[in-house]
Symmetry: C2
Subunit: 908 residues, 2 copies
């Protein structure tokens, strides 16, 4: 209740900009909940205020809100009218606290001006330090610190930084001047520079500024301050920040706050220091304090890498074999204070913290705390440990893990220490890393496999005919196709690493090499691909095997107990089925029967079936396919022991199965004793302008019912065989694809039922099964009420539903989706995360109408979205019963489903 | 009110089948409105009962209802339990009226058993005459009529017909027996046959029946009757009837009634006759009695063509130069009676009637009346005449004309008297008939045109590159593609006759000939195509020019006064624009700017633009296209003088414009000084799996805004030029295609507005225009509320909306749509008539949501459906403001819109 009121107070402030409060001193921030505070003050500002509240030593300062930033943009880059007054008042408070005066010649207050968005965007936006120095205050600073060199060093640093950030003077200019000066004077290290050297350089700097900007460096400290504030606001929309936001799905509307804070100095002598630390190890998750510091340095020096930072703890120093004293040893008192503080912080925030501190003349100042970034592995260990430590609940632990991170734990990864000779980058289409010999055809990949050799299959794009090669290869690299191209989808399903859409690669199939950015790679050369980053490297790069250790399974067990959404998998081979079961799949949500058709032993019969001129010949060919299909189902049913198995009847257009190259055509003609002319004619006949919208799915069965009849016979006979073998069998869910009218389903359900009766009669045994349909066309969604009359279940085929609802071909979308995401038309690729406003509306309409007619109807989703956490959240909220995804995404889905459940509990 | 109650009475009867009344004697039928009566009793039954009601001489009988037929099918081809009793009772009433007894040996009642569906399906279903004859009743009939020959002739006719229809004995068997008998006896004409001859033949017939069916011919008259009733019911689902229904959009659910009627005989002597007549001339519409009769004959003899029928009126006899007496002359008394009756009937039905009558021993019996079929021309003349005669209102006249019929009036038609050597049949894709030399390429068609020769362009299918050839040719013939293929759509737009999807044609482009059902046709051979029937003929067939005379324009003027829906046209050439204006178009609803890109003069610049590697080169190429586009717009704006013109910016994917053949590529490479390799690369780059869902429409403009900028500049500069030339100009409606999100339209509206400001500033003059979007993707329809924020108008692109909503590619649908219509999944091709349950729902959602945000939003439709009467009716009811269709469909749309208006008035 209190929280709500606070929220509404903050909101109301926005409404009336004249009365709006744009500026908060750290100690006066509103007492609202953490998230609202972060939204208003940014992460950094909120955390600084929070640290003050728990009595940690933080240099005083204030935050200009994110709302001020948004107002700044809505006023066409002008400040809200009341801002100046509020900033002056805030400065005054800082002056009182720290007992220094801004712009005062004898006791000058210096401040830092930093950006601070709702979430951390490291290095993306601008920062100015030491602001408040000018020709007069620098003298005051020198006197006050009794350190003229420090004062002029600070002044020149300020001029450099400010000129770069605010005045857009290239920092190389200043660096050149310093280098020249040192050369002339024979100076090697910055530390050898004296006050007079810096003074002289400051003169040169200012000449440079005049020559570039036509104006002298501003001496008015208020002018300096407003220049810096404006620069931070503007940096919210610089190119780096935009790109970062795009990559991290951060909305532009959030805006950044500006933090103005009094400076403390770690570079005023040997009783000064500066450092960064993590409260636990961010790469392993171990519960040990971990960090680096530098004596007599400013924060940027730790990061810059000019001096090598030292360990904070003695233990770490010993482990690293370093001789430089740790902070624990060199500043034991301050170190103790730091340990007390970090423990307090971790307890307060109930999460691993990434902290920054400065020691100024033995006094410890905290400059920042925030949740520390960590690896997937550390993430899980920390969460599980903190539950054990009773710091957080299991629900919180579950919510702490980004489900997408799990992917990296399930696949081999590149050894981070290994050298990489990157030649190009494509899309990270299927995670994991792999090395092997370059091969350009599926058959060659298979041959290499037979010889015990590893290969990477490199193709323009892949087609269903390449599947055996994709299986044989260690990884797949394509030049075309997006994250949801054939190659990407199939590779993810198989758990093979894949880099797709590496557009800079040009393949010369004939001469068997490819070029990437003028580097030539020949057949047989070894390359390595990283499907988690999209990188393509020449040579072999060492990889590390996945380790799904105890903490992982602990966390997943908690997730399983929590979630209500079932997780199934998309799988059709016994191998995939087993992998998915091991990853915790609770059934098969999509078994694509056509994948079984491409097997070398069967494809000939399939082709014979397609080339048949009449139903008799077609039936003969189908009879030959039947035993294969039956065997497939028996195997899968046995593995799934009683779990649901959704079998989708034949879906792709028939032309996908026909041979393509002249050579293949000739070979098929010979074997089947048909003329090549006839085969070519049939290929021509079956050619389609838009195969995605063509003669496929249930449309095939309306034209050639005998195909589905054979498939149903195979399913039912497999059930009988399982029954006879006394194996726990399954209740198959027979799924009719591409339905757009109730009538289609009525006709085909009748076909299925008829075949079931036949098999039941033949064997004198009862068969249980369900019949349902995919909802993958807008018309089907709109007519769900009628369609549900013939359906035991709906499975949303959101891939095709996205294609038709948005009118975007998945295979072709690569050409413009980037432009669309860049122009902010789509927040994210709609094939990656479900388009809630379009496809989502249709899913909801279909669920509501389907349930209205048939309250018991089973609802699930079997598109690629089934493995995407945001889409899973949508599915949970839309009331679906299960999602189905590729085997390697099952753990992700399990975790995401648990998170959705927890979030919806929290809302109520 | 009374009508409604009657209707509900009829409905309630269905609900309770046990109490249901399945049988009505002609004189006892329910007093409901005409349509309900027809639905219940079929057209024939309803009309027989109607004639009795107005005291015309009709042989007594009864009707078994269509509901009984449906019940028969829902009971798996068994009769409802109460049917037998009701039929017996009905027979009894007939016996009382006519004073004969069914099955009685001395005074036998004979009956006919005829089908009778809601609408006439001539010759499609089965009929049995003379039923009730057996070895005993035939003797009675002979005695009673004192004409043994007649009696046995009737008996053998009955056996023949019954055996064929009910017992499935092939009628050839009987004809062979008759022929053999005559040969043996030396008899030439049937009239020479005597009773003994027929008796002898009846014996042979019955032996034949026993040998084929294993049973003797049934002697029990009730068995005969039920056999015939069952056969009629079953004939509702015979193949002929199914095909006829499909072609005429008659739902299977309607069922057929069965009419059992006492026989009257026109073949009992020279005071007997039988005839058929139309109350007005059905081919010209002239108001003169028109028909044929035969003395001493049964009805089937008039139709069978063995004897030549004679004229009914003396006037007609004189005109025909016939010497055989007309009925007016040979039977003046009966003729007078007939005249009185036909006038009474026409007045009663207020429409031209097609009547059948029999004269039995000088007594005139009416056997049938129904609205007469007529030509389009007659249809209009009769409607306009009847208004003048005050027989019907203008509204009724408008409703009487099937708008689709108008098509035949606007195009040349084949002379019905000409001989036709038909070699194959395709789809009637664009109406009209044309002859010309066979040519296989667009260029050749153009060359022939330049030489003043007529050609028919024969292609597998056409593409935008063929447009100049389609223009040059007299007509187009394709082997692939449906009614809405490229060829069909473009041909209809141009008014060129087109036969598409003539699947039996195989073209050998290389050797320049095609084969159709083993007939070979070479380049240069003359063929004729009839785009109204789909027929393809060898040689030239005379055609008749269209005549849109006074009656036509009178009717159209009435329609224009009535309708509220505006009719625009889809046109982009000055020629089409003029044609459409002449046909009454009130604006352009779709001007496809890409069609202008294919012109020979410009395509090179377009290709240059596409092949550009950077925006500078692209802009250079665009600059060259600009003046052409501007000129096009100036011409169109001048013709449209103030009427609205909707200009759609570039829509198709860029690859459509690139050269295709190696030869073309080489030529383009040479002219543009680019390597062929580069062009091929670009072609590869731009290749799309599903171009329909690819990088097209507004997506092009998101990637390459400069294209739309050029087009907008052309539009605005054209306006300026019109203004300067003091021509009444137009307010263009600039239409953005393929929008799926509000953001796209927001961005592109800004682009249009910016360009408008630029041109306004340049010329210092104000420009008026609208900006809107096509709604042609489901997502757009679902998000219409948001999208309407940036739109002055919505235009429903129902072609693409159908493709995406149903997931059916128009170009590929030919392969399965037939199966779909045959299986009753679609009542009609959804590209021909709007799919109300799918696409229709989305149109309604979009209209409602668009209007909710912007009540003034203009709503129209510009898909092919704009020319389809049922779709126009949907648009009228959905509250659209206009429909836009190809020029030749404008009159159809005007009439259909008027009909919709009248129907909706009638409902309120």
């Amino acid at each position: 209740m209190v929280k709500k009121i606070k929220k509404s107070i903050i909101k109301k402030k926005v409404a009336n900009t004249n009365k709006a409060k744009w500026v908060y001193n750290f100690e006066d921030t509103p007492r609202s909940d953490k998230q609202s505070l972060k939204n208003l003050l940014g992460g950094k500002g909120a955390n600084l205020s929070e640290m003050i509240r728990i009595n940690l030593p933080v240099p005083p300062g204030f935050t200009i809100t994110t709302e001020a930033c948004n107002e700044f943009y809505s006023l066409n880059q002008k400040y809200p009218s009341t801002l100046k007054k509020q900033v002056s008042a805030a400065i005054k408070k800082v002056e009182q606290k720290i007992k220094k005066l801004f712009g005062n010649e004898s006791n000058p207050l210096l401040v830092s001006v930093r950006s601070g968005a709702r979430v951390s965007m490291p290095g993306m936006m601008d920062t100015v330090l030491n602001l408040g120095l000018n020709d007069k205050t620098v003298i005051g600073l020198a006197k006050k610190t009794n350190n003229e060199t420090f004062a002029y060093d600070s002044y020149r640093r300020f001029i450099q930084m400010y000129s770069n950030v605010v005045l857009n003077v290239n920092h190389h200019n200043f660096e050149d001047l310093i280098e020249n000066y040192k050369l002339t004077k024979g100076i090697v290290l910055d530390t050898e520079m004296e006050a007079s050297d810096w003074k002289s350089l400051i003169g040169s700097f200012r000449e440079q500024i005049v020559s570039e900007t036509g104006k002298d460096f501003p001496q008015d400290v208020n002018e300096q301050l407003w220049g810096a504030i404006g620069a931070v606001f503007q940096s919210w929309k610089n190119q780096r920040a935009k790109t970062y936001r795009k990559l991290n799905n951060i909305p532009e509307e959030w805006g950044t706050a500006v933090n103005v804070q009094s400076m403390v100095f770690g570079n005023m002598g040997d009783d000064c220091a500066t450092g960064v630390a993590f409260t636990r190890n961010p790469s392993t998750g171990d519960n040990s304090f971990y960090g680096e510091y530098l004596i007599n340095a400013q924060g940027e020096d730790v990061v810059a890498g000019i001096r090598t930072p030292q360990n904070i703890t003695k233990k770490a120093r010993l482990e690293a074999g370093s001789k430089d004293a740790s902070m624990e040893e060199s500043m034991p008192k301050v170190y103790k204070e730091l340990v007390t503080i970090y423990k307090k912080l971790e307890k307060h925030y109930r999460d691993m913290q990434d902290i920054e501190f400065t020691v100024e003349n033995k006094k410890l100042w905290m400059l920042q705390t925030r949740s520390g970034k960590r690896t997937a592995k550390a993430s899980i260990k920390i969460a599980v440990d903190m539950v054990k430590e009773k710091l957080i609940t299991k629900d919180e632990a579950i919510l702490r893990i980004d489900p997408k991170m799990l992917d990296t734990l399930l696949h081999p990864t590149l050894d981070p220490k290994a050298k990489k000779d990157i030649i190009t980058k494509g899309l990270p289409a299927s995670p994991g890393a792999a090395s092997g010999k370059v091969t350009f055809s599926a058959d060659d990949a298979e041959k290499l496999k037979a010889q015990g050799q590893k290969s990477i299959l490199v193709r323009q794009e892949t087609s269903p005919e390449d599947i055996h090669g994709m299986h044989a290869a260690e990884g797949i690299l394509t030049c075309r196709g997006g994250m949801t191209s054939h190659a990407a989808v199939v590779a993810r399903g198989m758990g093979r690493p894949c880099v797709s859409g590496a557009g800079s690669i040009q393949i010369d199939y004939k001469n068997k090499f490819f070029k990437a950015n003028s580097r030539e790679v020949k057949e047989g050369d070894i390359i390595t691909i990283d499907g988690s980053t999209g990188e393509v490297m020449v040579g072999e790069v060492t990889t590390i095997k996945p380790d799904i250790s105890g903490d992982f399974s602990t966390l997943m067990a908690w997730a399983d107990k929590t979630r209500t959404l079932n997780i199934r998998t998309n799988a059709e081979t016994p191998l995939d089925t087993k992998v998915a079961r091991d990853f915790g799949a609770e059934g098969i949500g999509l078994c694509r029967t056509e994948h079984m058709f491409f097997d070398e032993e069967r494809i000939l019969y399939v082709r014979q079936m397609i080339l048949s001129k009449n139903i008799e010949d077609r039936n003969k060919a189908l009879k030959n396919i039947l035993p294969f299909q039956k065997k497939d189902f028996v195997e899968i049913f046995k593995i799934m022991k009683g779990l649901p198995v959704t079998v989708r009847l034949l879906d792709p257009p028939l032309h996908e199965f026909l041979p393509k190259s002249e050579k293949e055509i000739a070979s098929v003609a010979k074997i089947l004793n048909i003329s090549e002319y006839e085969i070519n004619n049939r290929i021509n006949d079956l050619h389609e302008e838009n195969p995605m919208l063509g003669h496929r799915g249930c449309r095939l069965a309306i034209s050639y019912p005998e195909i589905y009849e054979m498939q149903c016979e195979a399913i039912f006979e497999a059930l009988v065989e399982c029954h006879k073998a006394k194996v726990q069998s399954v209740i198959p869910e027979i799924m009719i694809p591409l339905v757009s009218t109730a009538k289609e389903l009525e006709i085909l359900k009748y076909l299925v039922d008829t075949k079931a009766k036949e098999v039941q009669k033949k064997h004198g045994m009862k068969i249980s099964y369900l019949v349902g349909t995919m909802i993958e066309l807008p018309r089907a969604a709109l007519n769900a009420f009628e369609i549900s009359k013939y359906a035991d279940f709906f499975s949303f085929g959101t891939n095709d539903l996205t294609q038709t609802t948005l009118g975007i071909s998945r295979d072709d979308s690569g050409k413009f989706l980037d432009d669309y995401v860049n122009s902010n038309i789509f927040k994210i690729d709609p094939f990656v995360s479900i388009d809630v406003d379009g496809v989502g509306q249709l899913v909801k309409i279909a669920c509501e109408n389907g349930k209205r007619n048939n309250p018991k109807i089973k609802l699930g989703i079997c598109g690629e979205h089934g493995g995407d956490p945001d889409s899973i959240d949508f599915c949970h909220n839309a009331g679906l019963h299960y999602v189905s995804c590729s085997p390697y995404r099952v753990p992700i889905a399990r975790l995401a489903a648990a998170q959705s459940k927890i979030r919806s509990k929290q809302k109520h």
